[in-house]
């Protein structure tokens, strides 16, 4: 278990309980049951308290937790016959974006998402989930294909943002993102999206301009990272807590603003403490969201999606 900074006190108690149990295993005469149970209870109470009212900044930390299920985990757990499709047919295959044909229950779909990787090697290979133009152009190609064959598109969003690199800029990062957003708005098939971790700015919008958008309870979705915002508006990157607060980047605030359609509950202590449970909840939400729009005519799906975004933000927080 990787503990976050704000979970340190919890880590200490859980560590002590673990130590006691280890001692008891070596010395059968020791009776630690009572003491260990008291520690367990204390830890459970503390976990509840910590997660009862997570601050926006702490939500950012949870959303970035390395043990959270990532795109590939969801695809493995929720889909069958996943058949990855690679490449943008222009330049390269970007491993920060994965996608392909798969079945959700029995229905064939196109699934696309950003993958961050789970250890040093895979993180480097996936570029920490930061896509280059090739990644967005691959997504465009797959959405286009889904449109032609009438397959619903499911996107799983988890990225700190599009990659700020030399080659990425030279090959048209902004154009690729703009075209991906445009493709999202054009396709005459159901498009549903879940922000499973970080929804980082334009790099997220490019996949999340969907008929239905859900967010996991502790995921975040923002125009800029709190660190970036703090360094620009506060001239001090250490003011990320204040920035996270001001940006209204939590699922709860975004639901109030009418930017997202539903919130998917996470287990107590975050998705990283109940990976299977989280993934099952995302699966159920995908079914529910697809159920709401499946069967609609292609034109209607497109016009509904366009109208949804045109009308967004009309009321601010009063919405």
């Amino acid at each position: 278990m990787n503990y976050l900074d704000f979970e340190k006190p919890l880590a200490e108690i859980e560590g002590k309980a673990e130590e006691l149990r280890a001692m008891a295993r070596q010395n059968s005469e020791l009776d630690i049951a009572k003491e260990a149970e008291a520690l367990d209870q204390k830890a459970a109470g503390m976990l509840r308290d910590l997660y009862k009212d997570l601050s926006p900044w702490r939500k950012c930390l949870v959303a970035r937790h390395p043990d959270r299920p990532h795109c590939k985990d969801y695809i493995d757990a929720l889909f069958s016959e996943y058949t990855p499709l690679a490449g943008d047919r222009n330049f390269a295959d970007d491993h920060a974006v994965m996608g392909g044909l798969a079945r959700l229950e029995d229905r064939p779909v196109m699934v696309i998402g950003q993958e961050k990787g789970h250890d040093t090697k895979s993180r480097i290979e996936r570029n920490f989930g930061m896509a280059r133009p090739e990644g967005y152009r691959k997504a465009i190609r797959l959405m286009e294909m889904a449109h032609r064959f009438g397959l619903p598109v499911i996107t799983l969003v988890d990225t700190p943002g599009a990659y700020p690199g030399k080659g990425a800029e030279e090959r048209g990062q902004s154009e690729a993102i703009a075209r991906a957003t445009q493709k999202c708005l054009e396709i005459g098939v159901p498009l549903v999206s879940v922000i499973i971790g970080e929804g980082g700015s334009g790099g997220a919008v490019a996949l999340a301009t969907a008929n239905r958008v859900a967010m996991l309870e502790h995921s975040v979705y923002s125009v800029i990272s709190p660190e970036g915002c703090a360094s620009i508006l506060w001239k001090d990157a250490e003011k990320m807590r204040e920035a996270a607060e001001a940006l209204r980047l939590t699922a709860q605030d975004l639901r109030k603003l009418g930017v997202i359609d539903r919130i998917i509950d996470e287990p107590l202590g975050g998705a990283q403490r109940g990976r299977e449970e989280t993934m099952a909840a995302v699966g159920a939400a995908l079914e529910a969201m697809l159920g709401e729009i499946e069967g609609k005519a292609p034109d209607k799906l497109v016009s509904d999606r366009q109208r949804k975004f045109l009308e967004m933000g009309k009321k601010g927080l009063a919405a």
Binding site: G172, S174, A178, T181, G202, V223, A246, L257
Partner: protein, 324 residues
């Protein structure tokens, strides 16, 4: 404390925009540092007479030289909710807005106009870098939607001049949502078969570049304009190497296939007329000194004097007017 200084003074200040106070006679070029006589700079469309640097130009100045005889009418933009997030950094967002409005004499960072350019009726949108860095929030989104709706209604092309540091952070996620919103607006033009021409000016960056500013049928940039998604400083910090000379400037983008053209500001109007008239299936513009066209109404102002190399006078058949 005197209530007059507290309450009356700020209102008076906001009534008189900065254009009415005596302007500085000299302005320094941001690029080469030359001191330029204000009048001379204005006559040169805010292009440095020494090094050719294209300095920011306000939407009103732009429209004055773009539209025939400088005549245009503004298109109304629906007002969004003010301060939708109740955002506060070191200052309150409404205070930042008020300061920007006082400094510019403008309501927001984008102006929409309709009129004729070389006798071709167009709708035009111009972003104001001097207003909070031209940043894109709900108002800019509404402005682009209004421009596209107006263009579709009148059957006219849209010419958009972009200039922005990116999304308006003070509107958080709602500024980000202007990326899909403005993309829907551009879609309306596509569906109506109307040309959408983007002129990228210095600087155009971030979420603006990654939405409506990169979706033009024709992409033109002013010389040396910085055009990017991530800014050069962010990239240097990420990759820890020095970027090549001219990186992310208009000419560099042209070399990398990201633009159709790089065009000097003094030639822009001419070029727009040429392109628009072809895309709108109109006869070629007639260049040179022509007798002024028959005025539509007796009250129309005197036609502008044609300058050398200027194509302000074009074929003036009645059929050219009110296309669509």
């Amino acid at each position: 404390m005197n209530w007059i200084t507290n309450y009356v003074r700020p209102r008076i200040n906001s009534l008189f925009s900065r254009r009415e106070v005596p302007e500085n006679l000299w302005r320094k070029c941001d690029e080469c540092g030359s001191m330029l006589f204000h009048r001379e700079l204005a006559d040169n469309l805010n292009v440095c007479t020494n090094c050719g640097h294209h300095m920011p130009i306000t939407p009103r100045e732009r429209f004055k030289t773009l539209f025939d005889n400088g005549v245009y009418s503004e298109v109304k933009v629906p007002e969004p909710v003010a301060d939708p997030l109740h955002f506060r950094d070191q200052k309150r967002y409404p205070d930042r807005m008020k300061a920007a409005q006082r400094a510019t004499g403008e309501k927001e960072a984008m102006l929409i106009a309709e009129g004729e350019v070389g006798r071709t009726p167009v709708v035009s949108a111009a972003q104001d870098f001097s207003f909070m860095g031209g940043s894109m929030g709900m108002y800019v989104g509404n402005a682009i939607i209004a421009a596209c709706e107006r263009a579709v209604k009148l059957g006219r092309p849209l010419v958009l001049f972009s200039a922005a540091g990116g999304a308006r952070m003070q509107e958080g996620i709602l500024s980000l949502m202007q990326m899909p919103r403005t993309t829907v607006a551009v879609q309306m033009l596509r569906e109506a078969g109307l040309p959408y021409i983007v002129v990228l000016t210095h600087p155009t960056t971030g979420g603006v570049t990654a939405s409506y500013a990169m979706l033009g049928d024709v992409q033109i940039a002013e010389p040396n304009a910085l055009i990017c998604f991530a800014g050069p400083r962010v990239i240097e910090q990420t990759i820890r190497e020095k970027l090549p000379e001219g990186f992310q400037r208009a000419e560099y983008l042209l070399d990398h296939g990201m633009l159709d053209r790089v065009t000097h500001r003094k030639d822009m109007r001419d070029e727009l007329i040429t392109i628009l008239r072809m895309l709108m299936h109109q006869p070629p513009a007639v260049r040179g000194d022509l007798p002024p066209p028959e005025p539509l109404t007796p009250a129309e102002p005197e036609p502008r004097q044609a300058e050398a190399g200027d194509a302000s006078e074009t074929a003036g058949e009645k059929t050219d007017r009110g296309t669509g």
